[in-house]
Amino acid sequence: MRRVALIRFVLLVAAIVVLPFCVRPVVASEICIFAIAAMALNLIFGYTGMLSFGQATFFGLAAYTAGLMMIHWHAPLLAVLAAGTLVGGVAAALIGYVCIQRVGTYFIMLTFGFNQMLYFIAYKWTAVTGGDDGLPGIPRPPFAVGPLSISLDSSLRYYGFVAVSFLLAFYAMKRIVDSPLGVIFRAIRENPGRAAAVGYDVKRYKWLAFTIAGAFTGGAGVLYSMMFGIVPLESISWIISGDIVFMVLIGGIGNLYGPLLGAAAFKWLSEAISVVWERWPLILGVALVLVVLFLRGGLVEAFTRVRDIVAGGGPRPEPDEPVSVPDAAESQARP
């Protein structure tokens, strides 16, 4: 098992190295940034069973925090990254405390509701956020540790920084889901009632998962703020929240690599098709529907199937319920 994990990790690093030479470095950076956010959502959605439709709250809050720190204080890179992560985590702790009191659709709508409120504040508080015009003029500080200082001005160098941040985030996330904590999260997803009966404080663990995810999402938001020198208002809008949800779903939930593939596919598809045909969302929609109807395990399952065909076994019969997605709907639907 350890060898399999190692090979997967090596493969991931190889993909990260190759990525900016296959797609533009800018797109590659964005893929990595959204992969972090998708990975964070996967922790609460895929591993703990809570679908948040409001991750842009933490993404955007951290992006604004970082932007303001860099504009007004010329704060250094790592300080900004730490601050944004902290802001994401604290905001998620506050908002999450309220949201996790409810489950199912009510939980989703609470996360969405808070997202809308913060969007509104960002929209109206133009003196601080620039409102609809976005927060412009954000510098990209160099990567500086002690006497070492590396400029990140070129797209490729910035990608390097984003990629390293991504790998660190991935490693941290892997440690979390492999730890006893991860096991508890999964137990809560499978059956919250049983987890409680065994003696776990379900709400507290949900809260913890939500907070951790908020911190990761905040980190992604900071990286995003430095991409184009502007924090656009969309960064805190529900459109981004929705995109993150769909990335996770496309990739396949409840497994570490799914959200990464989902983020890559979602971003790359929308970039590649939009250049070819201005009605690109149509193709995206058709792809989504086909995936849902015929390839429910997401891209991870696609790989598995290709592997099986290559191995000569022919396609597997499709299970009614993919193993990665337990039918927790009934238990979720009631508060």
Partner: protein, 407 residues
């Protein structure tokens, strides 16, 4: 899984993934050709607008025979999705992958303010036409130019000439879209209004894309204005006009859309709802100059309807850029910038000049009065041009572009 199957799996998926991912990279920029990027909204809130400037830009490039100073022109477009994040990302991507040196667009002022940052950082030539004063103001830099009239001049042309014809209409009510564009035009409408003793009896700010204007119209009706002044954009203009008629406010009360697109809006409005409707605009197809007439003829032959502000602006910006490239004998952004700075010339819509200190184009602005249905001679005979003027100029003291910076 066995080692062999794993390796074969990795090979197979690796090859597949590489071929899928690599395809955009195959389109590499070619040496001699000049890449011009039109960044327009094909999806999102301004999705309806995108195809129009696209037509205008194409028209100008075709008129040049797809080449300038002996170099073939490659025209590419990107969808900004009416989102600043997508616009900047795709603009940057086009600069990287296609080596775009000239960027024109987008449509929304808010998004333009994001794009101008990219132009500044990547040192590409950037042309925009819109109502925010900041492109040639607070956020000015050497590589960015604004083609539209300055909101100061535009609002004065509208208010001064409207008041000349309707001196008793002193009660104005404002609908303002709450973003860069709306703030600029509101500021200068109020400024121009002071000179005529206009009382602003109320104003509401609403987000772009508001679909329910009934509440605002009820409020406006309660304030008993003489003029309902629309400082909004896109479909918001049409929705507010329709509601004003539904509520019986118009045509009794005049509607003045101070910064309008003209033709495209007219085409979408029932002739009855165009009664007592006044529009200030950067481009009307009735403009009586050789450049405008020729362009309108070409456009109408191709698309069966006269062009409105959007295609004219894209055409005008592209045309002026191409002429500046010819003047400079170079397509390097810095040379185009220098060729444009301080240039006085004849182009769309007529005589114009480019302020070297602010990069604001000094050009004519139109005030139109729509015709009643029975006065129209043909289906496109929408309006009379009641005023065309490039005056008054914005006083230097008001412009926030104090230092345009270096190349």
């Amino acid at each position: 899984m066995s080692t062999i199957t794993r390796r074969r799996f990795l090979e197979a998926t690796g090859v597949a993934a590489a071929s899928v991912l690599a395809s955009p990279a195959l389109v590499r920029a070619q040496g001699k050709e000049l890449v011009m990027l039109g960044i327009w909204p094909f999806t999102g809130a301004f999705a309806d607008v995108g195809p129009l400037p696209d037509r205008g830009m194409k028209l100008a490039i075709e008129e040049w025979g797809n080449k300038v100073i002996g170099r073939p022109i490659k025209y590419i477009t990107r969808d900004d999705e009416t989102k600043a994040s997508s616009a900047t990302r795709r603009m940057e991507e086009a600069i990287d992958s296609e080596n775009a040196k000239v960027v024109i667009g987008p449509w929304s002022s808010g998004i333009a303010l994001a794009c101008t940052e990219v132009a500044k950082r990547r040192k590409v030539f950037y042309y925009f036409s819109g109502g925010t004063e900041d492109i040639a103001g607070k956020r000015c830099h050497r590589y960015a130019f604004n083609w539209a009239a300055s909101p100061y001049t535009a609002m004065h042309v509208v208010v001064d000439n409207y008041m000349k014809l309707n001196p008793s209409h002193k009660r104005w009510y404002l609908f303002v879209n709450d973003y860069a564009f709306g703030w600029s035009v509101e500021k200068y409408t109020r400024e121009a209004g002071q000179h005529h003793g206009i009382e602003f009896v109320g104003s509401d700010r609403m987000p772009l894309g508001t679909r329910e204007y009934s509440g605002f119209v009820s409020k406006a009706a309660a304030a008993k204005p003489d003029v309902l002044c629309l400082l909004n954009a896109g479909q918001d203009v049409l929705v507010s006009i329709r509601e004003a008629h539904n509520f019986g406010l118009a045509p009794k009360v005049a509607i003045v859309n101070s910064w309008g697109v003209g033709t495209e809006d007219f085409l979408q409005l029932d002739p009855k709802t165009r009664e007592n409707f006044w529009v200030g605009t950067n481009a009307y197809y009735g403009a009586n100059t050789p450049v405008a007439k020729k362009m309108v003829e070409l456009y109408q032959a191709k698309y069966n309807a006269p062009p409105g502000y959007a295609p004219c602006a894209a055409y005008g910006m592209t045309r002026l850029t191409l002429r500046a490239i010819e003047k400079a004998g170079s397509a390097e952004p810095a040379d185009i910038v220098k060729a444009l700075e301080g240039w006085e010339t004849q182009d769309w819509p007529g005589k114009l000049s480019v302020n070297a200190k602010t990069h604001q184009t000094v050009r004519d602005y139109f005030l139109l009065r729509c015709k009643k249905p029975d006065q129209m001679k043909h289906q496109f005979d929408f309006a009379d041009i009641v005023a065309v003027s490039s005056q008054p100029l914005m006083p230097d003291s008001l412009n926030e572009c104090k230092d345009i910076g270096s190349l």
